[in-house]
Amino acid sequence: GAGVSQSPSNKVTEKGKDVELRCDPISGHTALYWYRQSLGQGLEFLIYFQGNSAPDKSGLPSDRFSAERTGGSVSTLTIQRTQQEDSAVYLCASSLFTAGGPYEQYFGPGTRLTVT
């Protein structure tokens, strides 16, 4: 079956512009995460969606970052007025959700964002 897909794979944008990054989770996975990975670093949690529940936005670094998930499937991460420090790889993951909470996460290939 298809894994998690993300688009675009690469995005170069000018400082101050807005960008949208897309994530298509594995079919049937109700839990979806966004992470950010700066060069040579670990992954930084950004936001979590589970079904129809209100998203956990506690990891978003500023109000320039927002995300939505339409129909419980596809998610879009939007960064407004991009800054150079936003340059990173943005990774999406999805998982099943069980009575015990989120299960094993599967990652997409990421979107490499470069802000010039």
Partner: protein, 109 residues
């Protein structure tokens, strides 16, 4: 949040050698996973191991949840094992999933 410490940070092995990577958590975690990030940046699932021991070919992992650590064993290493190995887990409250800073492994022929 939960701190995740991985050791060693860097490791260079001769092909065929064995190694042990360690992951310590500052608090109890659930849904503990090990990942391999290949040179193209893709995170590949190695183990989902909240507790106990699992084996998959040359790799095995052990998690001792009561002592908040996990170990990843790589035997008979190959050059294709090179990359960065991450462990990660979720806290018992909230939805965050916490990653370590990784172990960078280089296997030389």
């Amino acid at each position: 949040g939960i701190q995740v410490e991985q050791s060693p940070p860097d490791l260079i092995l001769q092909e065929g050698a064995n190694s042990t990577l360690r992951c310590n958590f500052s608090d109890s975690v659930n849904n503990l996973q090990w990942f391999h990030q290949n040179p193209w940046g893709q995170l590949i699932n190695l183990f989902y191991i909240p507790s106990g021991t699992k084996q998959n070919g040359r790799l095995s992992a052990t998690t001792v949840a009561t002592e908040r650590y996990s170990l990843l064993y790589i035997s008979s290493s190959q050059t294709t094992d090179s990359g960065v190995y991450f462990c990660a887990g979720g806290g018992n409250t909230g939805n965050q999933f916490y990653f370590g800073t990784g172990t960078s492994l280089t296997v030389i022929p």
